[in-house]
Structures are given as structure tokens and as C-alpha cells.
């Protein structure tokens, strides 16, 4: 082989090698790759339980079981934005990991799902989103006890009775005074 041929061959091998490496890399990236599939119901009511499912399938369509999927809610509160973990689920035999979640706010929710598929060394991410509606106050303060009848009304009844009797005594005093007036001696005694 002359020099040109040798150079061309080396270049070709170099290119081929690079491509092969790239292809290998790409194939390896795709080959271990797991496809997440998410579906979310259309109408979600805040405060009611709903399910956020994700199905992990390998490239050949086989279900990826036993993988832990961590769910995060993209949230913003008091000027701080971040991802709040809302739960974990493990994929079952069909590759389904479903998180039972009760959305607390109405509005747009962005869910981020992270998982580490077997054989991978990087965490993969899937996302989904849904809208929630509803305006019912959800948080209930701790229960108290209310016994019908045992309230302020009872106190008022007792106090009123006592003051009524005192008032009656005052009326008796008025009667004493009136009985003392001369000429009135007959009026009260004869009334009885």
C-alpha cells in the first residue's frame, strides 16, 4: 500500500472507530434505557386521593420490576422554590409504580419522578403534570367535644334564677315599707 492508502485507511478506521464508539455509547445509552409511560386522570379534585402511575418498560418491551420511583412535587412557598418529595412507589411485575396522592392545592401541579433502573448508574427523570380543582378547606383542627345543653345558656339560667329570687326579696322589702304606712294596714292583709 502506498502512503495515501495507508493514511486513508487510518482515517477511515479512525472515523469508523469514532462512529463505532459513538454508536456503542448511544446504543448503550439506549439499550439499558427504560421508557417511562405516565397517564394522569383529567379531572383531579384537591383533597381527594388520586393515583399517579408510571410504567417502566425496557427497550424490548419487558416490564422493569422492583425499581423504586421517587415522586416530587414542584412547589413554591414563601419565596423558596424546590422539589418536595411526596412519596415513593416500587414497580410491580407489570412495571407499574402508582403513587396514591392527595393533592392539597387547586391549580397546576408538576410532578417529577426519579428512578434508578437496574443496570443504570444515573438517575432518570420523568415528568407529568395535572390540574386540580376544588376549594374545600382540607385541614381539620383537632376535634373538640361539644355536649348539647352544657354551654353558656346553662350558666345564664342558673344566674338568672338567683337574681330573680333576690329581686323577689327586694319586692318583699317594698311590701314591708308599704305595710308600714298608716292607713295601709288593711290593704295587704285583706288581699290574701
Amino acid at each position: 500500500m502506498n502512503l495515501t492508502t495507508r493514511r486513508a485507511t487510518r482515517a477511515a478506521i479512525g472515523f469508523l472507530g469514532a462512529w463505532a464508539m459513538a454508536a456503542a455509547l448511544a446504543v448503550s445509552a439506549f439499550a439499558s434505557h427504560v421508557t417511562p409511560t405516565t397517564t394522569v386522570p383529567d379531572t383531579v379534585t384537591a383533597g381527594e386521593e388520586m393515583s399517579i402511575p408510571v410504567i417502566l418498560r425496557a427497550a424490548d418491551g419487558a416490564a422493569v420490576a422492583g425499581t423504586t420511583v421517587t415522586f416530587y412535587l414542584h412547589a413554591s412557598f414563601a419565596g423558596v422554590t424546590g422539589e418536595a418529595e411526596i412519596g415513593r412507589a416500587v414497580t410491580d411485575d407489570t412495571g407499574l409504580a402508582a403513587l396514591t396522592y392527595k393533592p392539597r392545592l387547586a391549580g397546576h401541579h408538576e410532578i417529577r419522578m426519579e428512578y434508578l433502573a437496574p443496570g443504570d448508574d444515573e438517575i432518570q427523570v420523568a415528568t407529568t403534570a395535572f390540574e386540580a380543582t376544588g376549594d374545600v378547606q382540607l385541614y381539620r383542627t383537632e376535634p373538640s367535644v361539644s355536649v348539647p345543653g352544657l354551654d353558656v345558656g346553662l350558666l345564664m339560667a342558673v344566674v338568672s334564677t338567683v337574681w330573680m329570687i333576690l329581686f323577689g326579696v327586694a319586692l318583699l322589702l317594698v311590701a314591708i315599707a308599704r305595710a308600714g304606712k298608716p292607713g295601709d294596714a288593711l290593704s295587704l292583709e285583706s288581699r290574701g
Binding site: V152, L155, M156, V159, V162, W163, I165, L166, G168, V169, A170, L172, L173, A175, I176, A177, R178, A179, G180, K181, A185, L188, E189
Partner: protein, 454 residues
């Protein structure tokens, strides 16, 4: 009959004497008491100007001498209830000479007690808020309700049985006393002529009141105790507080009554009517209530001390062994055990012995109120060092002024109103030879010559 009316005349003269003659001693006493009250007013002025920081109270021990004294005065206001009402309902005839003084004490003690709550307030300028913004669910409002009701009922209960005596004053003093006094007696006697119809009405009124005032009085000190028992403080969180406080109130009320009786008896020569028998009987009652208090204390302390929940151990240590031990043991031994011993020993079962017992009980009960308030707040709620509380001169001055006010009002009452229930004493006396009494046939021996010393 002649002897009876002579006896009656002597009784009426004795009752009228304080109103007829006023000596130098009276004015000297009034001047002294006014001076003490004036000093207390100055102390209160400083407190108003600078705030409650001039007292010894702080965040950790936020109640102190004022609240203890408030509870103490409301407690001794139960003197009237026991003597007048309970003994009247049960028909104990020996009560008649002392009922009036007991009823005086009730009214005056309530007034003094209520003023200590106002003194303790951080914003007394907002006192009306209690009525305008009051919450029925608050123990403080229950206090206001109960004390207002009790004060009204007590004033009525003081006034109604006094009407015949006021009529006697009106008639006997007509024209022989100052114009305003004549006018006063004419007005407050509300036209009493002794007519049968009036007597019937009076009997009804007294009958209603004497039954009504017993539950009112019980409710007053119960709700006062609930100011403490409705909180979560370890030494106060007890279901027994209501009954405990009512028993303590009647107990301290009897003691104050004995002291006031002894003083008025000597000063106004009531020895013929208020005899050693009365002191001994009241002493027996006081001993009985001391026994009840011992029982209540055992119930409370044993049930808590047996288990020693958190906080109770600290409380027991401060109460029995450490900081408050001298005060608490004085209360137990001097205030609860001593009256029983004094009542039981024949050597001390006399006027002097009973007065000594009463003085011990009075001190001990004030100390007990003080200890309840301060030790209750002293148990640490979180991990911090327990605080200490020492009243300042302002608090002591106001306590002295409160006691002086109590004494002053009783002194003035005794000069204006009949200090002994003349018609009731006469009624009891005239029935004495007719029906053999089941108690104390030795009465004639104890009767001292009229106008005698005690």
C-alpha cells in the same frame, strides 16, 4: 315580766351605747387606720406610675401577694354564711348575738377582696372591659358574677334582719341625735312598725335569703378556686380545689369572727350576751373545720405524693423540705393541728384560748393562700432554673392598707348600725326559761354581770 323588760332595756341600751357615745379611743383608732390606708394609697400611686415592676412578681411567678390576699379576703367573707345562714337554717339558737357581726364581716371582706383584684391588674384603667367585653367562658368572669351576686345577697342579708333593730334606733334616738343620723335611721328602717303583716313579710324574706345565700357562698369560693384549677399547673390541676377552698374559707371565716367578736365584745361591753359559750362553740366549729382541712390536705397530698408524676416531686420538695417548708409546716401544725388541740384541752377551752387559736388560724390561712399561689407558679414548665418571689414594700403596704380598710369599715359600721341583733337575742332569751334547752344548762353561771369586763 318586769325582769324581762328590764333585761330587754339593758340589751337595747347596750346596743345603742356605741351610737350614743363616741370616745377619744375611737377617733384615735380611725386616725391610725386612715394613716395606714393613706400610706397604702401612696404605694398604689407609685405602682400606677411605674407599673407592676415595683412588685416582686415577674414572668415566671406572675401572681403573688395580691392574689393570695384576694383569695384570703373572699375566704373570710364566708363567716357570715356559716353563722348566719347555716346555723339559722339548722335552728341553733346560740348564734343570735353574733350574727350581726358575722354579716358585717362578710360585706366588708368582699369589698376588700374585690379591691385586691383591681390592685393586681396591669391595666386598671380598662376595668370596664370586664363588663363590656366579658367572656362567659373565663374563670375571671365567673368570679365577677359570683362575687357581685354574693355581695348583693350579703348586703341584703345584712340589711333585712337589721330592719327591726334600725326601727328601734329610729324610735329611741329620735330627736336625741344628729339630724343626718335621724334621717338615716328613718330611711333604712323602711317604715317598720312591728305590724303583723310586716313581720310575716320579714320572715319570708329572711327565710328565702338564708337558704339562697348558702349555695351562693359555696359557689363564690368554688369559682375563685377555679381561677387556679382551670390551668394546667401541676399543683393546681386538681379536682379537689373547689371543695378544698370552700372548707378553707369557712374555716378562716370562723377564725376572723372569733377575733372580731372578742374585740367588739371588750370594747362595747357585750359580755352579757356574747359569752364564753359562744367562743367555745365557735371554737368547736373551728376545730371541726380544721379536721376537714386536714382530711382535704391528706387527700390532695397523698394521692399526688404517692405517684410523684413529673413536677410533683419538685413541688413536694419545695413544699415540705426546702424553700417553703417553714411556712407550710407552720400552716399544718399551727393552723390545722393547734386549733383542734386548743379546743380539746379543758385548760384552753375559754375565750383567751379560742382567740389565740383564731389568730393562729388567720395567719396560717393567709400563709396557705400565699403558698398555693407562689408554689403553684414556681414549678418549672420547661428546662429552666426555678424563679424566686419576694414581695416588695409596696405589696406589704397594700396588704396592711387592706387589713386597715377591713378594720376601719367594721369600726365605722359598729358606730352607725346596731352591732347585735337585738330582736333576735331578745326572742331567744325570752324563750329560754320556757323550753329546756338541750345545750349548756350552765348558761346562768357563764353570764357575766352587765357592763362587765370579759
Amino acid at each position: 315580766m318586769a325582769a324581762l323588760s328590764e333585761w330587754q332595756r339593758r340589751l337595747e341600751e347596750t346596743a345603742l351605747a356605741p351610737v350614743r357615745r363616741t370616745g377619744l379611743r375611737y377617733w384615735a383608732l380611725v386616725a391610725f387606720l386612715l394613716a395606714v390606708i393613706g400610706w397604702g394609697a401612696y404605694a398604689y400611686f407609685i405602682q400606677l406610675r411605674d407599673g407592676l415592676v415595683v412588685t416582686g412578681m415577674r414572668d415566671r411567678i406572675s401572681w403573688g401577694l395580691y392574689i393570695a390576699t384576694f383569695v384570703f379576703f373572699i375566704g373570710i367573707s364566708h363567716a357570715g354564711t356559716l353563722i348566719s345562714a347555716i346555723l339559722r337554717v339548722s335552728g341553733a339558737r346560740w348564734r343570735t348575738p353574733v350574727t350581726r357581726m358575722a354579716e358585717f364581716i362578710t360585706v366588708v371582706a368582699l369589698v376588700c377582696g374585690a379591691s385586691f383584684v383591681i390592685i393586681d391588674m396591669g391595666r386598671p384603667d380598662r376595668l370596664l372591659f370586664v363588663f363590656v367585653y366579658g367572656r362567659w367562658q373565663s374563670p375571671i368572669i365567673w368570679d365577677v358574677l359570683a362575687i357581685t351576686t354574693y355581695l348583693t345577697a350579703s348586703i341584703t342579708y345584712l340589711f333585712v334582719p337589721m330592719i327591726p333593730d334600725l326601727a328601734m334606733f329610729r324610735d329611741r334616738l329620735a330627736g336625741r341625735t344628729s339630724r343626718w343620723r335621724g334621717w338615716l335611721y328613718r330611711v333604712v328602717a323602711i317604715g317598720w312598725q312591728g305590724k303583723p303583716s310586716q313581720r310575716r313579710l320579714l320572715a319570708s324574706a329572711i327565710g328565702v335569703l338564708m337558704i339562697l345565700i348558702i349555695p351562693i357562698a359555696v359557689s363564690v369560693h368554688t369559682v375563685v378556686s377555679w381561677v387556679f384549677a382551670m390551668t394546667l399547673r401541676v399543683p393546681w390541676n386538681s379536682a379537689l380545689f373547689g371543695a378544698f377552698f370552700v372548707a378553707g374559707a369557712i374555716f378562716s371565716g370562723i377564725a376572723i369572727l372569733i377575733i372580731v367578736m372578742a374585740i367588739l365584745r371588750r370594747v362595747y361591753h357585750l359580755g352579757e350576751y356574747v359569752t364564753e359559750k359562744h367562743f367555745v362553740y365557735l371554737g368547736y366549729l373551728m376545730a371541726a373545720f380544721a379536721a376537714i382541712m386536714i382530711y382535704a390536705n391528706i387527700s390532695e397530698l397523698l394521692t399526688h405524693g404517692y405517684k410523684l408524676e413529673e413536677g410533683v416531686e419538685f413541688h413536694f420538695r419545695q413544699l415540705f423540705l426546702a424553700e417553703f417548708a417553714p411556712l407550710f409546716w407552720f400552716y399544718l401544725l399551727g393552723g390545722l393541728v393547734a386549733p383542734i388541740v386548743i379546743a380539746l384541752l379543758p385548760a384552753t377551752r375559754n375565750v383567751r384560748g379560742m382567740v389565740v387559736a383564731a389568730i393562729l388560724v388567720t395567719f396560717a390561712m393567709w400563709i396557705e393562700r400565699f403558698v398555693i399561689v407562689v408554689t403553684g407558679l414556681r414549678v418549672p414548665l420547661m428546662p429552666y432554673e426555678p424563679a424566686d418571689y419576694f414581695p416588695t414594700w409596696i405589696e406589704w403596704s397594700l396588704l396592711a392598707a387592706g387589713l386597715a380598710l377591713f378594720a376601719l369599715l367594721i369600726t365605722i359600721f359598729s358606730k352607725v348600725f346596731p352591732i347585735i341583733a337585738v330582736w333576735e337575742v331578745a326572742e331567744e332569751h325570752e324563750s329560754m326559761p320556757v323550753v329546756p334547752e338541750t345545750v349548756e344548762p350552765a348558761a346562768p353561771e357563764i353570764l357575766e354581770p352587765s357592763g362587765g369586763t370579759s
